[in-house]
């Protein structure tokens, strides 16, 4: 199968703490931190949106891939906060990357797994010989209604992956598997500014059923054991869900440690599991096995098994690491935070 030839990430500079939000909402800070396992989240700048985040991450992916952008034959951008309802984010990314005109492009949407699906599409296109390289992005500036529980975690960020021939890749894609069902756990109706969710129903029948379903399926398909993996990334709506899912799968805290970026940036939706994968690639050594499972409400999960190659060491330094974006931060008060959120959806 195809492989990853370059990856890039981006997280906006601004943060708001869970403490700041809990104080305004008059809620119990300890209960929230215990429930979610995160202490702050990223907030986009007033002039950032899913398109600008996608461009930023894609430019870094291009630096690491070291290819001529004109060789990219497909651009797919997954998000649930595409700036336009009609007019693709993908063509904005293609233009900003100077890909030319000879490429196919689409925006994708499947709650938080709109980005991971682009890796499967591109891998299929590369393997069939339709394209040489394909760019896939997951990027979001997530919406949450002030006062809603989602406000503590809905964050902004994204990651981009250029998929190409196995030969020359930094990580080969060895297996992929998906698990999908019609499950009404979380949605946003057309023209509504904020999503709605089914409270506790988002747990067992939604996140856990699909994440465990896809992961168990890929383990069966590949014959791999959970202990075979150096790194495991599971979608991160908060820190508690992936920690619990990992435990059920028999994974150790050490296996999920590097990819668990949610604690300091929150849930970046379409960017979430992909930022976890980018953080792993940033520091991975050659010949390491990586397991990634995304989750999108509605509901479905995509699982991937990657093996890093020697080439990864040559490109890790070519662009910024996820950890550098996490370290760069400026805290906002609640009033400033609201101004940022109003502005980006204008």
């Amino acid at each position: 199968m195809a492989g990853i030839v370059g990856w890039g990430s981006y997280i906006p500079k601004y943060r708001i703490t869970v403490e700041e939000i809990a104080a305004v909402q008059g809620q119990n800070l300890k209960a929230i931190i215990d429930g979610l396992g995160l202490t702050e989240k990223s907030v986009p700048g007033k002039d950032e949106d899913a398109a600008t985040i996608a461009v930023h991450a894609s430019r870094d992916a291009l630096k690491r891939a070291g290819i001529n952008p004109k060789e990219i034959g497909a651009v797919y951008v997954g998000s649930e906060s595409h700036p336009y309802a009609v007019k693709p984010t993908a063509s904005i990314v293609g233009e900003a990357l100077d890909i030319g005109n000879e490429y196919t492009a689409l925006d994708t949407e499947f709650a938080c797994k709109a980005g991971s699906g682009t890796i499967q599409i591109n891998a299929g296109m590369v393997d069939s010989g339709m394209i040489k390289y394909g760019l896939g992005v997951g990027a979001d500036t997530s919406q949450a209604e002030p006062g809603n529980a989602l406000e503590y975690s809905a964050a902004a960020g994204g990651a981009a992956f250029i998929i190409g021939p196995k030969n020359g890749s930094v990580a080969t894609l060895d297996f992929t598997a998906s698990f999908t069902s019609d499950t009404p756990d979380f949605w946003r109706r057309a023209l509504q500014p904020y999503p709605a969710h089914a409270g506790r129903f988002t747990g067992e029948p939604a996140y856990f059923k699909h994440v465990l379903g896809a992961t168990n399926l890929i383990l069966k398909k590949s014959g791999a054991k959970i202990s075979d993996f150096d790194h495991i990334v599971l979608h991160m709506p908060n820190a508690k869900f992936p920690e619990r899912a990992a435990k059920i799968l028999g994974a150790t805290p050490k296996q999920i440690e590097v990819g668990l970026v949610v604690k300091k940036i929150g849930n970046t939706y379409s960017g979430s599991s992909l930022l976890g994968l980018a953080a792993v690639l940033d520091v991975a050594k050659p010949e390491q096995k990586i397991l990634v499972t995304s989750y999108g409400s509605g509901a479905g999960s995509d699982s991937f098994i990657f093996t890093t190659t020697n080439k990864i060491l040559l490109v890790q330094k070519e662009a910024r690491k996820v950890s550098e974006y996490i370290a760069r931060k400026e805290y906002l008060g609640y009033a400033q935070y609201l101004k940022h959120m109003e502005e980006i959806h204008k």
């Binding site: 500079k13 700048g45 007033k46 002039d47 950032e48 949106d49 398109a51 600008t52 461009v55 930023h56 430019r59 700036p83 336009y84 904005i92 233009e95 900003a96 100077d98 550098e324 760069r328 400026e330 101004k339 502005e343 204008k346």
Partner: protein, 132 residues
């Protein structure tokens, strides 16, 4: 300076989206925007990629912004000397006015400029942030 038409904006994508520069074939001077005639007398230019790295040559803070930028005010605007020699005027974001100095290293980022009202097109392009 401030164009409402999405078509006029679209014609500027090469400069503003991709940060292309134009190098005089004779004296090798680099310009950010396409020129008809170089002061050296040449009319021939080659399109080049600008790295987006530069230093602040002059800067100011805008308080009374045009309507489309009102909600973003106050914001910083600077004249930036790019590494390749071209000069560009652009917004510097993700910083406070007090963070900037003449000589501050900056790098190009892709950001939203403004939306043409609630129903109009969204305009994007290059701004700068202090190097981090």
């Amino acid at each position: 300076m401030f164009r409402e038409s999405p078509i006029l904006r679209w014609r500027g994508y090469n400069d503003r989206y991709k940060l292309k520069g134009y190098k005089c074939r004779v004296c090798k001077k680099v310009y950010f925007e396409k020129k008809g005639l170089c002061p050296c007398g040449s009319i021939e230019f080659d399109e080049i990629e600008l790295s987006g790295k530069g230093k602040i040559a002059a800067f100011t803070q805008i308080h009374g912004a045009p309507e489309a930028f009102e909600s973003k005010a106050p914001y910083c605007v600077a004249v930036i000397d790019l590494a390749e020699g071209a000069r560009i005027e652009a917004q510097v974001v993700d910083c406070k006015y007090s963070d900037l100095k003449i000589g501050t290293d900056v790098e190009a980022v892709f950001r939203k400029f403004y939306s043409s009202g609630e129903k109009g097109a969204i305009h994007y392009g290059t701004k700068f942030v202090p190097k981090f």
